[in-house]
Assembly symmetry: C2
Homo-oligomer: 115 residues x 2
Amino acid sequence: MSETGPALTPEPPYYAVIFSSEHTGEHAGEYAAVAELMFRLASEQPGYLGVERAGGDDLNITVSYWRDETSIRAWREHLEHTVARERGRSDWYSSYTLRVARVERVSTFTRPDRP
Amino acid sequence: MSETGPALTPEPPYYAVIFSSEHTGEHAGEYAAVAELMFRLASEQPGYLGVERAGGDDLNITVSYWRDETSIRAWREHLEHTVARERGRSDWYSSYTLRVARVERVSTFTRPDRP
C-alpha cells in the first residue's frame, strides 16, 4: 500500500468512501495521532484495498477503497473507529461530507521516462 | 458552488470523478492557470454538480460531481479540456488515476455552534 501516491486497486467494480472534511484546528496533535492509528487499523480490515489522502488549508480529502459494502459496514462498526468518530464530531471537524460510491471504471497514467 | 468546503450536491444517485495525481513540478505556473480555467469551464457544463479539491506535497485529489455519465462524457470530449489533458500527460503529471464512481449514499455533519 502506498500512502503517498494514487492507490493501487484491483479491477472495478469496488467501492470508494470519499470523506471531505474541514477541521476546527483544535486538538490538532491528538487528531493527527488518532488519524494515523485509524489509517493503520483500516488497512488491517478485511476488504480494505487502499487509501488516498490530500490536505490543504481549506479542505482535507481522504478516499478509502473497499471490496464491497460489507467491508465498509464492518469498518464503520469497528469499536475504536466508532470512538474516534465521536471525538471527530465533538472536537476535530467543523464539517464533513462522506459519500459511498461504486467505482465503475478506472484509467491510469504513468509518465514514461524521457531521455 | 463552494471550492473550499465539501461540495453541496443533490440527493444521490449521481456520479463522482475521483482524480488523484502526482505532479512533476515542471511548468507549475502554467499548470495552475490552466487548472483554474478548467475548473471554471467544468462548472459551466450541463450536469456539473460541484467539485472538491485538496493538494499536498505528495498527492493532489480532485473530486468532481456530475448528474450522470452523459455529462461526464461530454466534459471529457470538450475541446479545451482535451487539449489541457494532453498537456497534462506531456508536462504536468508524473502519474494519475481517474476513477468514475456512482455515489449511492451520503452523510453530512456540520458542527453546531457552541456557547
